[in-house]
Amino acid sequence: MLSKEEVQHIAKLSRLGLKEKEIEKFQKELSKILDYIEKLKEVDVSNITPTSHSLAALNVSRQDMPDVLASEKIKKITDQAPASREGYFKVKPVRN
């Protein structure tokens, strides 16, 4: 069973704001799911290569050249931000 502190820690790492009453609900639900996942411990995984990609794939690369977007395209993108200026996204100060 995950503790309340663990749930709060995970929420903080995920940058998810949880309401006080939600913490207990997620605590119960996540714990139940993690209990079910314990099943994976039954498998003998010694000497097995993990699969991160289901098909054998080679690294696909391209030239390291930027795509120059038309200014109208840039505007379409930045206009959707809550705060932008001259084609840049505006953010609040990043503090230590």
Binding site: L30, L34, L55, Q80, K92
Partner: protein
């Protein structure tokens, strides 16, 4: 024949013979949607202006006696996690409630090139996370066969729209069963292509190693037509692969079918079992060899998926931070960290937050090896199970779901119970294989789908196998 019962082939013929115009056709579909979608709620956005201007263009080509492309004038519904330029794209989430797509997904570009008429964007579980479309921030979609029941998920809107004849085909996405399960619940065909067969460029990512876009259609020919148009290597999606056409024509007559014993278990609805067994009987009658096989790691597919998919989702959904687009708490707080917490806390629904947290936990320091790495190793074993089985058989058959469509609200209190609805579809995504849900009967008034799984890039084998039953 009612205009809304048309297949893609019917429409192509009808337009060429001038039995109706593309504009008439589109208007007919919109009329039907406006009258009947109130009961179903399959669409989130209708794109009437876009559709009518595209239809006018098709009519112009026809009036000049010019050749029209394969999908000319054919009305399509698109799941709302696939970008259509200039059209709202919400992912079924409050966090993107007012987001407008700045570009077309590659699959959209391709169907537009073939003249398809996009009628609108369909409802889905938020960010494709769910098995019932009940996780949509904009309300659930109802199953056209029984509006008290779910259409399945996460591509419930697309499946329902097609089943209700609101379009001639639809596009969805499948990460753990999200095309196949709603196809089964709604009585339409739904194909999940081989991982890499269809470009994911313009699909809002959920789990990058599992997601695939695929077609919903009424017939095998229609399904194959759409698949052939949307498939192909795309330089914008590094995981996409060019398919080499396989000439399997003659081999399908000596079809070897595998029935995995782990997929024919207690807990499957008796009616579903009966219908699937009947379908298998029909295959036997065609001369196909039926063989029991084993996929020994089947019971570990669901737990492995519920580590891998949420882990990948936690990374893919990090971009929804209230900075570049979407719902933002930017004006409500002076603190950057608070912008993240508030935007995401308020913008994401419960299931999305649950999965992001699950993913973050399993990737975090101290837990990565025990959870994520272990799940990826179990994934290898699951892949190997299928590879071994495919040495002896050409296709693997199973039910798509242990039950037909369940009632709205039936599973919403228990996330784990909801996850178990994907028990037969999920291993296929982990192994990257192609699979279809093909309607084979009804339990009362509720449709039941048969799952046909094939080797990587053998979608043609799936189509040929399904065709054997379609004739009957």
């Amino acid at each position: 024949m009612k205009i809304s019962d048309f297949t893609i082939k019917d429409i192509h013929k009808g337009l060429k013979k001038k039995e109706f115009s593309a504009v008439e056709l589109a208007e007919n579909y919109f009329d039907k949607i406006k009258k009947e979608d109130k009961k179903i709620s399959s669409f989130l956005t209708l794109t009437q202006d876009l559709a009518l201007s595209e239809a006018k263009e098709i009519d112009r080509l026809l009036s000049k006696g010019q050749e029209i492309p394969l999908l000319a004038g054919v009305p399509a519904a698109v799941k709302d996690n696939i970008l259509v330029e200039g059209v709202k794209c919400t992912a079924g989430s409050k966090i993107l409630e007012n987001y407008t797509a700045p570009y077309d997904a590659t699959v959209i570009k391709k169907i537009k090139e073939q003249g398809a008429i996009i009628l609108g964007k369909t409802n889905l579980d938020e960010f494709a996370m769910g098995s019932s479309t009940e996780n949509s921030a904009f309300g659930p979609t109802k199953n056209p066969h029984d509006p008290s029941r779910v259409p399945g998920g996460s591509s419930g809107g697309s499946a329902a729209a097609l089943a209700a004849n609101f379009c001639a085909f639809a596009l969805g996405s499948d990460t753990g069963g999200s095309i196949r399960q709603p196809a089964s619940f709604c009585g339409v065909l739904g194909l999940k292509p081989t991982y890499g067969a269809v470009s994911r460029y313009g699909l809002m990512s959920f789990a990058s190693s599992l997601d695939q876009i695929g077609p919903f259609a009424k017939t095998i020919d229609d399904c194959r037509l759409i698949f052939d148009i949307i498939k192909g290597k795309d330089e914008k999606d590094s995981t996409s692969v060019e398919l080499k056409a396989l000439d399997r024509g003659s081999q399908i007559s000596n079809l070897r079918i595998g029935l995995p014993k782990e997929y024919f278990i207690k807990g499957t609805d008796a009616e579903v079992e009966k219908i699937i067994k009947e379908a298998i009987g029909k295959y036997e009658a065609t001369g196909a060899k039926i063989e029991e096989i084993s996929l020994p790691h089947t019971q570990y597919a669901l737990p492995a998926y519920y580590i891998i998919a949420p882990a990948e989702a936690s990374a893919n959904l990090a971009r929804y931070d209230g900075i570049k687009y979407g719902f933002s708490a930017n004006n409500q707080t002076k603190d950057l960290l608070a912008v993240y917490f508030e935007s995401r806390g308020k913008g994401f629904g419960s299931e999305v937050r649950r999965r992001i947290m699950l993913g973050t936990y399993s990737l975090s320091a101290g837990y990565y090896d025990a959870y994520y790495l272990r799940a990826q190793k179990v994934r290898t074993k699951i892949k190997e199970d299928f590879a071994k089985a495919f040495e002896k058989v050409d296709v693997i058959l199973s039910p798509v779901s242990p039950t037909p469509a369940f009632k709205i609200g039936e599973k919403t209190d228990d996330p784990l119970l909801m996850y178990l609805s994907d028990i037969f579809t999920i291993a296929v995504n982990l192994a990257g294989l192609p699979a279809i849900s093909f309607p084979v009967g009804k339990a009362g008034k509720l449709p039941v789908g048969l799952q046909i799984i094939a080797k990587p890039f053998e979608e043609d084998t799936i189509f040929e196998t399904a065709k054997l039953l379609e004739k009957k």
